[in-house]
Symmetry: C2
Subunit: 469 residues, 2 copies
């Protein structure tokens, strides 16, 4: 994949080097409004071409994807423009300055069938899959409270967009992207938020917030530009806790670590190697790797930060109203036989990879998402109008869930929405829900919701290797 | 000092052993409503006498002080009764179930000239004086945000008062005493609080709160009975941070530690020995040790928890309205010449001990408090009516501040209240304020408030040894 870089203000030598050193990735051009500036950066970073103006870069044949390094206020416009030119979009955080803009980027990228991702590196570090995976979650027990703190003392360059409200500045959309993203990654979508901020230079300079999630999960977060370097989280369940002191990026010259603790306070240290930016780039550039869960994380984070901004403005606890992705995950057109698919409703990447392995061993497709697939599936809608333009998208999207697997630990809040109607949308699916054996009430609620197979986690774990055969 | 124990429900073998092994301390009696129960505990714990009924214990000549181990709803009644019998009062946390009750205990104890303390051990661990002392505060820079989390998973005994709202149960007055006390210890009195709780058994079972302090200092706290064992805090300034993972009591079989970090993330580990309960008992039982700063901490914590309870009830951010201690720190009567005194307005115990040494070397008294002394001082009021009853109290209280020293780091919020009137109340005092050299605006504000001597911390540090001579 050949990258063109839009903007010079926010790129770092590190990221360009990561792009240039990732297998299958090249950087072919960099664009600035000022051609001298573009040329200077091209020369500094060993990029073949400096380009005058962002539009000119989008017209180039030697660019397959853009990396957007512009101020946040320009992200939506140029992500949409790039997608319309058929370029894949890798965008600096935040994806946009509003949830509406973020969903527009998503919708246009889906329509144009280009891949998109926001460049939040920590989600892709091997450590992250481990600390949010099944094994660690099992030790946590039922999730109860999350804390995160991200601060860097006055990290500004001259003319920094972060100090300019009109460019989407302030800590909420910047450091808050990490601080709020962490609890969302573990606990899913919050129900409501309450936030206050210290203002300086006309932007939120330090922000403190509380978040409320389904099942009485709570979170407290803090981020700011007037506090010493911090990038830690603590995730606490009823039987254990996880602490990481550098989750946004490992401390320089140290291996990436986190610690798990049991109720006695005994700590276990876990260490990992890996370059999170390269892992992100590999995931972004490999066509077979599914980005849906990261895209959902982006959209949910953007929506939550919008509610936090609303709370800052009105001084009230605010509900977070999530909108669903505008383009259905399934086309309503099916020209080819639908592929039997195992669908995993969870945030648990590590266990997801085990289910994927079991599904693929049984010749089934695998998909994972945080919410129900929308639209009508597979063969049920084969009498819809057909046209050539939809054919490719139909091939990609024609999936027929034969298993719907609900992770009660992280998606138990979804149970009340699973009425018969929503289940009937997946006529070939066997529904399965699983959760820790101590979560008696959730297991009971799943049975009462009419789910056919309700298992404890250890039962599911044992049956998984042969379940789909 | 000979202790009698009121109640058997909340005592632990550990605390009785600490009492019995502290130099100068004996346990002579234990009282229960049920004499068999009293006798059983007396025998189990090696206490000479089991007593039927709390009143009977208060009447005993072999008891100088009580340790109150009753449910919180009974603390005020029996603390007041003990004081009225001339017994010193050491009371399990919380001191009472309302700020009004807490102030009543304080007022009666002052009137009866008995000592009182709530039995919050961590305040007295040698580690605490270090992590909240001048050296560590210097590394923190300006205080910005505090986080604390205290939880123990279902720590209940059968019939536990903590699950009974009518006995003062719930996590707010229990674990919240630690979680809220920590930021108060560092940052002083909060301006306002916002809190929500998960309710179970009719009591707050897990509580999450935000706190706002003067100078834009913020805090987030979390405590509860449905979460794994946690007892950590993080204190973050603009140049460093301090983390402790067991501040309420060191993990068993491990030395007491905390970590300080600079902006690069480099961590320094600090280790301490000591038994916090014995340190507390020594402080409580030595007549010359000043308890004022701990009593202020108790009263401020109680008032803050009351505001948190109010916020839980009305769902709003609530201002915390502090009341001052009812009995003046100085008597308005002076039969003896007032003692020249160095008065230190600060929360910094470690630096306080250095100032005390310098003051005593110069033949001056030393007092430390978090707020201005109330009442009229020393010789200024010598024309007030005199009577024999007031004489002893006048001797104890007749102090004439010749130096008033204001620590701008921790008490800078007091500056706006220091008008000429309040300064005129201490006619012989030279006012001095000091703060880190980077806090230019606070140093300037101190000068503008008319303080005669405004020094940077390092200047003050250098002049201290000879300042009072």
């Amino acid at each position: 994949m050949r990258f063109g870089i839009l903007g010079t203000g926010r790129i770092t030598r590190r990221l360009v080097a990561d792009l240039q050193s990732t297998a299958g990735v090249q950087v072919t051009a960099i664009a600035s409004r000022d051609v001298d500036r573009a040329d200077w950066y091209a020369q500094q970073y060993g990029i073949a071409t400096g380009v005058e103006g962002y539009q000119a870069l989008l017209g180039r044949d030697d660019v397959d994807a853009v990396y957007i390094a512009l101020p946040p206020s320009m992200h939506c416009q140029w992500a949409v423009a790039a997608a319309e030119h058929g370029k894949h979009v890798l965008c600096e955080k935040p994806l946009a300055i509003s949830a509406e803009e973020a969903h527009r980027v998503d919708a246009v990228c889906q329509e144009k069938q280009v891949r998109w991702l926001d460049a939040t590196g920590w989600l892709h570090h091997p450590r992250t899959a481990n600390f949010s995976g099944l094994e660690q979650r099992g030790k946590l027990g039922t999730l109860k409270h999350l804390s995160s703190a991200v601060s860097f003392y006055e990290p500004f360059q001259s003319g920094d967009h972060r100090l300019d409200a009109s460019l989407g500045g302030g800590c909420v959309l910047d450091l808050g992207w990490y601080a709020v993203g962490l609890p969302i990654w573990f606990a899913g979508r919050p129900l409501s938020v309450y936030a206050t901020a210290v203002m300086r230079h006309g932007v939120p300079y330090r922000m403190t917030a509380m978040m409320w999630f389904p099942d009485d999960v709570t979170a407290t977060i803090n981020c700011g530009y007037d506090v010493t370097t911090r990038k830690w989280f603590e995730v606490a369940g009823d039987s254990g806790s996880i602490v990481c002191d550098d989750f946004t990026r490992p401390w320089p010259e140290r291996e990436a670590r986190f610690w798990s603790h049991d109720r006695t306070g005994a700590a276990e240290s876990h260490s990992f190697e890996g370059n999170q930016e390269q892992a992100m780039l590999l995931r972004f550039t490999k066509p077979e790797s599914d980005l849906a869960i990261y895209q959902q994380q982006t959209l949910d984070t953007q929506q939550t930060l919008e509610a936090i901004t609303q709370s800052l403005q009105n001084g009230q606890r605010c509900d977070v109203v999530f909108r669903e992705r505008e383009t259905p995950a399934f086309s309503s057109v099916s020209l080819v036989p639908a592929k039997p698919t195992v669908w995993f409703l969870s945030g648990d990447l590590m266990f997801g990879s085990r289910i994927r392995a079991a599904a693929e061993a049984a010749g089934l497709e695998f998909r994972m998402s945080s919410g129900l697939p929308t639209g009508t599936v597979g063969s049920e809608a084969s009498d819809e109008p057909k046209d050539a333009e939809n054919q490719t998208s139909a091939e990609n999207r024609s999936l027929d869930p034969v298993w719907m697997i609900l992770d009660l630990s992280t998606r138990g809040g979804m149970l009340p929405t699973l009425d018969a109607d929503s289940r009937n949308r997946f006529p070939h699916a066997t529904w399965l829900a699983y959760g820790p054996h101590v979560q008696v009430s959730k297991l009971k609620a799943a049975r009462e919701a009419g789910i056919e197979l309700v298992l404890t986690r250890s039962q599911f774990d044992m049956r998984l290797p042969t379940l789909f055969k």
